[in-house]
């Protein structure tokens, strides 16, 4: 009877395949990810049970901070350039190509357009200082927000308006913003919230 030969197996597993998979997934996540963009103001959005995700593109973001200051931003770098050009024409301001380029890299801002030139000449770290977080004027005498929204909408009809307000923002500020948008006949918009895990939604009746 022949002896049964037991093959000697090494205890080391071949990691090459696993490594392949890991890096494949890594590549996938790196390519599909878009990082949370830095916003001009720190905003603590209220939580809600709504589970609708915000669309990825064509967002016209209006931020309202705790004190009611308004910040504004659109996505799409080309659109940002034409936005500033047209806004400049509206307020008799001339922006250089370098300034337009700088502006196209800014996600959101909150300052009167008269100060935009000074703001763009700073480097990104200096822009974060609070002296430039003034809020966009939106009162009835000087409603720049209205113009920003109108011009953005004229550049691309696809922009959806998203409002992200702090949970402690006083209601009159929100109401004023909604009225401004209503004046522009913008009646549909998204309110950005964070997810709330409602444990007990339906109490026993």
């Amino acid at each position: 009877m022949p002896k049964v030969k037991i093959a000697r197996k090494s205890s080391a597993v071949d990691m090459t395949a696993m490594c392949d998979v890991a890096f494949l997934l890594l590549t996938f996540f790196m390519l599909t990810s878009n990082f949370t963009r830095k916003e001009a103001a720190a905003i603590n959005a209220p939580s809600s049970i709504s589970e609708i995700k915000i669309p990825e593109r064509n967002i016209l973001l209006i931020l309202v901070d705790e004190k009611g200051k308004i910040f504004f931003g659109i996505d799409g770098q080309e659109n940002r350039i034409s936005l500033l050009e047209r806004m400049g024409a509206l307020y008799n301001l001339q922006f250089s190509p370098a300034e337009l380029k700088e502006f196209s890299l800014i996600n959101s801002f909150g300052l009167p357009i008269e100060q935009m030139k000074g703001f763009l000449s700073l480097n990104p770290e200096e822009r974060e200082s609070t002296s430039y977080a003034l809020g966009i004027p939106s009162d009835s005498l000087n409603n720049q927000l209205k113009n920003w929204v109108t011009v953005s909408r004229s550049i691309s009809k696809d922009y959806r308006i998203a409002i992200k307000a702090d949970q402690a923002t006083a209601y009159p500020k929100i109401k004023k913003l909604m009225e401004t948008l209503q004046d522009l006949n913008e009646n549909r918009y998204n309110l950005i919230t964070t997810l709330e895990t409602a444990a007990d939604l339906e109490p026993n009746l």
Binding site: M18, P172, I174, R188
Partner: protein
């Protein structure tokens, strides 16, 4: 001398080929790969904000006529006030008698309980529909159709949300949330009227009075 050098090299080569295998240990590389994957997964998907879609009526005069007169039996008015307080009353002022105002809050046993009770018919129908979907394997389209039909029931309550100047944005979102939870199809955000403010005032005055006693 050249020979010696050659010999030396040969000898070293032999020794190396004996000792080292061509296999590289990939374990640390896999570790690193999965660490990065974890990072990217967490950095992307978890940070996506939610959104709440809302549509306000347009300011046109023509649309204003369309705002049909709400039947008093269906109307519920919510008044959002400071410190997360909510007041509500049913119907409106009729025959010179003010509607009764109640004070509550946004907890599950507060406003939600009241709204669910008012909307009980719709809620139970929806529950039945959900059970039907499991049983009869309804298609999504059919389910949605029947859901809208249930929600637009003629006797379902209509909610008017009015926020006072002291309320904060969070209260509004909370109120809109309650609408979604309680399956209330028709609601509107409205400006607060002096009448509503006077109701709150009398309510608070009365309460102070009864507490004092």
């Amino acid at each position: 001398m050249a020979e010696i050098a050659q010999n030396h090299r040969k000898g070293r080569k032999k020794r190396r080929s004996k000792k080292l295998s061509t296999r590289v240990d990939f374990t640390p590389m896999v570790d690193l790969g999965f660490l990065l994957i974890t990072f990217f997964m967490l950095a992307t998907t978890l940070n996506k904000p939610q959104t709440m879609e809302i549509a306000l009526p347009s300011k046109d005069k023509s649309a204003e006529d369309e705002q049909s007169v709400v039947k008093a039996s269906r109307a519920i008015t919510l008044l959002l006030d400071k410190n997360n307080a909510v007041y509500y009353y049913e119907g409106t002022r009729e025959n010179e008698i003010d509607p009764v105002l109640y004070k509550t809050n946004f907890s599950p046993t507060g406003l939600r309980q009241f709204l669910l009770k008012r909307n009980y018919e719709v809620m139970s129908k929806i529950r039945e529909l959900k059970a039907d979907r499991e049983r009869l394997k309804l298609s999504d389209k059919e389910f949605d159709q029947r859901l809208t039909a249930i929600k637009s029931d003629k006797s379902a309550p209509i909610v008017l949300i009015k926020a006072t100047n002291e309320s904060v944005y969070r209260n509004l979102i909370d109120a809109l949330d309650e609408m979604a939870i309680c399956n209330i199809e028709r609601y509107a955000i409205d400006d607060i009227s002096p009448f509503d403010l006077s109701l709150i005032e009398t309510f608070n005055a009365q309460n102070k009075h009864s507490n004092g006693r």
